[in-house]
Amino acid sequence: MTVDSSPVKFTPALPGQPAPDIRTISRDRPVFRAELPGGRIVWLVTGYENVRQMMIDQRFSRALAVAPGQAQPGVEMFAGGSINGMDPPGHTRLRKLVASAFTARRVEALRPRVTSIVNQLIDAMLGRPQPADLVAGFSLPLPAQVICEMLGVPAGDLTQFHAWSDTIVGDWQRDSDEIMTALAEMYGYFGGLIEIKRARPADDLMSALIAARDDTDRLSEQELTVMCCTLLIGGHETTANQINLSLLLLFDHPGEVAKLRADPGLIPGAIEELLRCSRLGGLPPARVTTEDVRIGGVVIPAGEQVMPLIGTANRDPSVFSDPDRFDVTRDAANHLTFGAGVHHCLGAQLARVELQEAFLGLIGRLPGLRLAVPAGELEFKPGMAIHSLRELPVLWGEP
């Protein structure tokens, strides 16, 4: 096989913009070298089986990808030292401390509380004039409130978190000093909160992690702080924008919304289809090869940066028939939006419950929900980690 030395120029698209014609690019070369905006050279992996193989193969290392000197600005700087940027066995040691709090059974027990938060937020929206900003009024406070309660973080500090989290995740074009300042402030905040919880433990995940630190020395003080930040950031930016992007998809498919209104029992399946079809992620987290690895018919040499294009897995026609068709009745549960392997999203089940309850509430209680501005006027934050809407102005009721 000849080595293809000329990388393909590749610019990830925002939702609503045409995606690069990845099907044409990847038809003959499912794994290829690409030049990203800014000149960074990476290997891109496409197609369901290749993406899945890459995610479960530990020769693709996250730790190497976020190592000093390698890490890209923004959320990747934060990932170093968090479970998101570690390999086994260090990753395993930390992840198992929190895994039991996020299992389907434990999360199912939180469902009534999630429902109640959904209803409170919708009550508040109904009591205010239209149009309303759904980001501020619903999609952000819902998952933020849930993860704060799980962790034991005062929900009154939410505004402060959003500011930090926005700086860290929302905009990679900020200069790195600003990001490092936000990180330092967030670490400082959690350092203080950990001392408070240490003195007065409560029935929450932070207190449990502090006990794991103090009683059995299973994580360092720094790891404890980073874990709390990881759970807080990971626990709300993602779900909030998945709600936003799901709504945008549904606005374009009124026939599908009508099916969900007629039979709310379809909602859990629809959530999987929404997860499959909406492009939440911009550039996916990179991995670095620990040795030469054969994948998709090519050999990627050791030490190269590699990214899985999850959208191509979720629209692989060999797995999802007529993949560009949005169909709430389709069985889409094997999408790879939550990843696979050791970094499979810790909060996947929590996100599912939040999304299910959110859409039961929005579709059931706000009939006629629609955009108050043309879709082209919606602004995404210029970050690349998560497609994050600044505002989502909506109306509801009779037009």
Partner: protein, 74 residues
């Protein structure tokens, strides 16, 4: 003495390898990185209970070999 039957649904397994980490020697990954039990029937083992409870995709089930009842995972 009661015995536990371990089954792993390979269609549900997402290869997180948590079970291998939490109950070493009780679970093994195949070439597709999907988990399965080393022995299908074992004496009760808290590490195995912990692994089943912590599986992110709930792919592991534990059944009491005598009664056929699911083992309580809490």
């Amino acid at each position: 003495m009661t015995r536990w039957k371990i089954t792993v649904d390979k269609n549900v397994c997402i290869c997180s390898a948590m079970c291998v980490a939490l109950a070493p020697g009780r679970f093994v990954l195949d070439e597709q990185q999907r988990s399965g039990p080393v022995e299908a029937e074992i004496d009760p083992d808290e590490e195995v209970r912990d692994a089943a409870a912590s599986c992110p995709s709930e792919a592991i089930s534990l059944v009491d070999a005598d009664t056929g009842q699911l083992v309580d995972l809490d």
